[in-house]
Symmetry: C2
Subunit: 307 residues, 2 copies
């Protein structure tokens, strides 16, 4: 079923203990749509500048991503520059240049308006709301957000959250948004803001899915080499939402599969810089890694007679 | 099968955001043996002082714990005083009084010498080695250690590790012991020191079991109220080793069950101060919580025809 994403398409400069890359392909909509494209067609709403390399767009089109809602505007593309230390969980932002993103107003082509699944990438919550004004009765609306909006645009964020079914959020940002240190209390607090489900991302420790009466935990795959965590969260969301979009129903089983598939896709994304690893993989490798997650987490029931 | 533990039996004073408790029952051998006693008989080697309350020993005896190897010496019992902030993962030690533990020399009663499973609690690595000198061909020797020995008694610790089959260790201490930041590389490094298996404990993020060619991840149960993390690691080890001791074979399935049962027992331990919660539970509650872990982590395979 149709899947819509609004977010950034960017040129990133990233420094990790393993090297430096400048002006490489990045952005929340880019990671999300590439990841989701292994499961479902994706409609992108985003903006790039005159300097954005055409081959990047060609790559997305070849992955079956619909770019009818991507506009090219006068000026430079959104740029983000960040650095990771050995503690690869959190980036230090060195520079952000909004450029064409500064005046971005998401406009949905008519063909996007009946998208059944919607992912509101990490942009201003008012822009997220504007996207929702343009879609007709989606089955599930998911959103991402960050500390910048939590502290700087809290009223607008709370308004958007009332219209969101599922929130993806980092653990530190979940604590910040809720004012609760304990992660279970933080999740409950966020569920009271509107979303029926919240996915709390914990980097190398995996992710938790909270619904009102139950919780699912998926670990991250322990990797000997994590090169670049940039985009891991959006890649997770892409695998998650792409998996949901393959299903007719929102059952607990499909939500759990979505959590694992999100973790699978994120485990690939961090293995190389930018989207390099996502360019190499195929559905066979994805299925094999899904099995790796099964091996990583599976254990047998206690027998009925053992006591 | 028989299970031996050497470690501390202590009086703890603990401060958490939820309250203060003074001179309550604690110690690695206490938490371990109480936890393991739900699965297996346990033989304890430890020392207490003249001031140690007899009812505490009576409690352990009633749990089926064999105290033939516990001696009462002139002087005061080992005391530890610590504080936890909201970040409940790590304690700040405020005071340590070794007292009778200062001159502790573990001596095994004859009846202990053919114990099949051995847990060397977090004591000086030379004392850990002295215990191993006194046991005859155990099936599996596990040990715990901490930063104090890693930095202060590294040569003795490395000698002990050569004789250990399985090491329980915190993630920060695994990094310290190995000199590797990445947890997979840290585990591989530790496996090269002697142990065939290493369990890396990550507090609220759960635990990882590494063997040479595979890894198992068990999350911690997300709890809305964590009152006191003291003893959670030893309680985990008790559930783990107690579970192994119920089995004739060391199969991958029983090791995974041991990881989950360790997590089950630790999830109880932190719900109240000291051993209060472990005093209340029974095998029915333990089985129910094991099922909770299944619900927390279970997901279905991809169907063979889905692609």
């Amino acid at each position: 079923m149709s899947l819509l994403v609004v977010g950034s398409v960017a040129l990133d400069s990233v420094e990790t203990p393993f090297g430096i890359k400048e002006d490489v392909l990045g952005g929340s909509a880019t990671y999300f749509s590439t990841s989701a494209s292994f499961f479902s067609p994706v409609n992108v709403v985003a903006v790039v500048g005159e300097d954005f390399p055409e081959p990047h767009l060609q790559f997305l089109r070849e992955r079956g991503v619909n770019l009818d809602g991507l506009t090219r505007e006068p000026g430079r593309t959104f740029r983000w520059k960040g650095r990771y230390g050995w503690q690869l969980n959190e980036a230090e932002t060195l520079d952000t240049q909004l450029n064409v993103f500064q005046s971005f107003t998401p406009r949905l082509p008519d063909s996007y308006r009946d998208s059944r699944y919607v992912f509101l990438g990490n942009i201003h919550p008012e822009l997220q709301s504007q996207v929702l004004d343009q879609v007709k009765g989606p089955r599930l609306v998911a959103a991402d957000t960050m500390n910048f909006w939590i502290t700087g645009s809290r009223p607008a964020l709370l308004k958007t959250l009332e219209r969101v079914d599922l929130l993806f959020i980092n653990d530190s940002e979940a604590r910040q948004l809720s004012g609760e240190h304990n992660i279970v209390l933080a999740a409950r607090n966020i569920l009271a803001m509107g979303p029926k489900r919240v996915v709390i991302k914990r980097g190398e420790y995996g992710a938790l899915l909270f619904e009102h009466d139950h919780v699912f935990a998926c670990p991250a795959l322990p990797l000997a080499e994590v090169f670049d965590p940039t985009g891991a969260g959006d890649t997770f969301a892409g695998g998650f939402m792409g998996t949901l979009a393959t299903s007719e129903e929102l059952s607990p089983a499909i939500l759990r599969r979505a959590m694992v598939m999100g973790s699978v896709m994120a485990s690939f994304a961090v293995e190389k810089f930018s989207l390099e690893r996502l360019r190499e993989i195929d559905r066979g490798l994805i299925r094999a890694r899904f099995s790796d997650f099964k091996k990583l987490t599976h254990f047998e029931d206690l027998g009925p007679l053992e006591d």
